[in-house]
């Protein structure tokens, strides 16, 4: 790893990352602050949910909405938190090399006496570091926050829930990095990774309703990260391993592509 580059990436991204972190803490805090009202209206909500279209209940995994873990799963882990992890991941992935090529800084960076794989691996490590820090921020926010609203969750489940976001973030960080390595354009890297993320989310959300989508759930990163409801069941070891291995393969492909192609100017 090239330490000066690693530190430079962290420094360059600090403002954007700070913004996403504040957003994450704010969203979690706001949702937690609403929970006492939800719990006190459990009876009314139960009636409301009973009349809620079954299809929507399935899409938003709304079972057990009035329990602490059920509420957090529905309100945070089904959409908002994955979105933040994926946004950070795709952004950092698209910046890895595509931005350097577009801004022509790649001509200086890639003519230093450091191999292209080492440069890209440094960028990958910095992106993974950002995901780990986000996990820590989310973990601490939940760990502290649930105490204020009297939700009981074991530390292992909070950690599993937080880590599930990073599994998605890292996967789509890898995808954006790969598109950037192939095409050298930030818009393609970002757009391609986000399009895949949206497709994955739709397939995952509609799987309870569409048999075809349900059949391919086993290859969907959203299923790997969220399918077993990490706040209740913890992370599925098999799925987590599959997610990590997939990311490693995509990162490997990124390095291989960048290593052997012309750098555009």
């Amino acid at each position: 790893m090239a330490i000066p580059l690693f530190l430079k990436v962290l420094k360059d991204q600090r403002r954007g990352f700070l913004g996403w972190s504040i957003g994450l803490v704010a969203i979690v805090s706001i949702q937690l602050s609403v929970f006492p009202t939800v719990r006190s209206s459990a009876e009314g909500l139960a009636t409301f949910l009973k009349n809620y279209p079954e299809a929507l209940q399935k899409i938003f995994r709304m079972e057990d909405y009035t329990s602490g873990p059920g509420y957090l799963s529905t309100e945070l882990f089904s959409f908002m938190l994955p979105l933040i992890f994926i946004a950070v991941g795709t952004g950092w992935g698209a910046n890895a090399t595509a931005q350097e090529e577009e801004r022509r800084t790649a001509d200086l960076l890639l003519t230093l006496p450091i191999s292209r794989p080492r440069i890209l691996l440094t960028k990958i490590v910095s992106g993974i570091t950002a995901q780990i820090v986000l996990v820590l921020i989310l973990f601490l926010t939940l760990f502290i926050g649930i105490r204020f609203v009297d939700i009981s969750l074991p530390v292992s489940k909070i950690l599993a829930g937080s880590a599930s976001g990073a599994l998605l973030g890292v996967t789509f960080h890898a995808v954006a990095t790969l598109f950037g390595s192939i095409f050298g354009k930030k818009s393609v890297a970002l757009g391609g990774a986000i399009a895949l993320a949206i497709a994955g989310f739709l397939f995952y959300s509609l799987a309870p309703l569409v048999h075809t989508f349900d059949r391919v759930l086993g290859i969907n990163p959203f299923q790997w990260a969220l399918g077993k409801n990490p706040l209740k069941g913890g992370l599925d070891f098999g799925y987590a391993t599959l997610s990590i291995l997939t990311s490693i393969i995509i990162y490997g492909a990124s390095v291989s592509v960048l290593r052997s192609r012309d750098i555009s100017n």
């Binding site: 090239a2 000066p4 580059l5 430079k8 360059d12 350097e100 801004r103 022509r104 800084t105 790649a106 001509d107 200086l108 960076l109 890639l110 003519t111 230093l112 006496p113 450091i114 191999s115 292209r116 290593r259 052997s260 192609r261 012309d262 750098i263 100017n265």
Partner: protein, 305 residues
């Protein structure tokens, strides 16, 4: 014979079906400055980017200090200072931060070199790069290429955007770098600058190498106008049998003609007819360049002499 610092053998690069450069072959010796000339789109930048390993050659080989350059090789780049044609800089950084970052990546302190060159070029290192003029950004590009005292310099349009005073300082820096034995490949649109700095030039056009030669040889092989002054009028027919001259005209006691190659025979005949003085108007590199590139027949040009 000294080992080449830079050597290209049949370097060819296609972008898909589009020609970048074809069969470029030349060498640059340690302590030599090679001018690299050609119109826009001729293939200069492609050749230079291939030399620093940014492009994969379609065929041919490029060597730096005897080691073959590929997109996989990186150790040799310790010895290379490269200034891209349009250097992309980290605009959110200050000049100092930018140069220190590159120095750290090279595992080089370079502090003294950065400071002294910034002073020499009158560059404020503490302003953000995005707030600097194009000329000042170019100075940062120049400093990053020279700061680690490389033995090979590959400079693509290095004086682009620099004012005349800084250009003069740059020329002095290049001279000093040459005197410590570095090999320099330098492309420029300022032909007078290349004429002043370079020992030899390579000229390419439309991706093809037209010639490589010493500037002094090019001048010898180029048409020159000669004025001959006599004590009394001389008939132009006197010079009709002299080899290598044409366009002979008489203006009273003065005869003008154009000469290709040596002037010995012309002067011998002129002296026999009472030559009093002679003035030779040599072509400069601009004229040579245009005659070669626009003439389109480097072989014809070469065989004139």
């Amino acid at each position: 014979m000294p080992t080449s610092a830079i050597s290209l053998k049949g370097v060819t690069k296609f972008y898909g079906h589009e020609l970048g450069v074809m069969d470029v072959t030349f060498e640059v010796l340690p302590g030599e400055i090679m001018g690299f000339l050609g119109p826009n789109g001729a293939g200069k930048t492609t050749t230079m980017r291939a030399l620093v390993g940014l492009l994969k050659l379609t065929s041919g080989q490029a060597y730096i200090l005897g080691e073959e350059v590929t997109i996989y090789s990186h150790e040799m780049r310790k010895e290379i200072g490269y200034l891209p044609g349009s250097p992309g800089l980290y605009e959110n950084l200050t000049g100092w931060e930018h140069l220190r970052f590159l120095a750290k990546m090279r595992d080089c302190d370079c502090t003294e070199e950065i400071r002294s060159m910034a002073e020499r070029f009158d560059l404020d290192l503490h302003r953000r790069i995005k707030d600097l003029s194009k000329g000042n950004q170019q100075k940062i590009g120049v400093i990053q290429a020279f700061m680690h005292r490389p033995s090979i310099l590959i400079l693509d349009e290095p004086t682009s955007g620099l004012d005349p005073i800084v250009q003069r300082e740059f020329s002095a820096l290049v001279d000093e770098t040459q005197s410590r034995g570095a090999a320099i490949l330098l492309s420029s649109h300022v032909l007078s600058e290349v004429e002043h700095l370079a020992d030899r030039v390579v000229i390419i056009n439309d991706g093809k190498q037209l010639l490589v030669d010493e500037i002094s040889n090019l001048k010898k092989r180029t048409l020159r106008t000669v004025d001959l002054f006599f004590g009394s009028p001389i008939p132009p027919e006197v010079f009709s049998r002299v080899h290598g001259i044409k366009d002979v005209h008489t203006y009273g006691n003065r005869i003008t003609c154009t000469v290709i190659g040596a002037e010995t025979e012309l002067l011998k005949v002129a002296v026999e007819h009472g030559l009093e003085s002679v003035q030779t108007h040599e072509s400069n590199l601009d004229e040579i360049f245009f005659s070669i590139v626009e003439g389109g027949d480097p072989n014809g040009y070469s065989t004139i002499s």
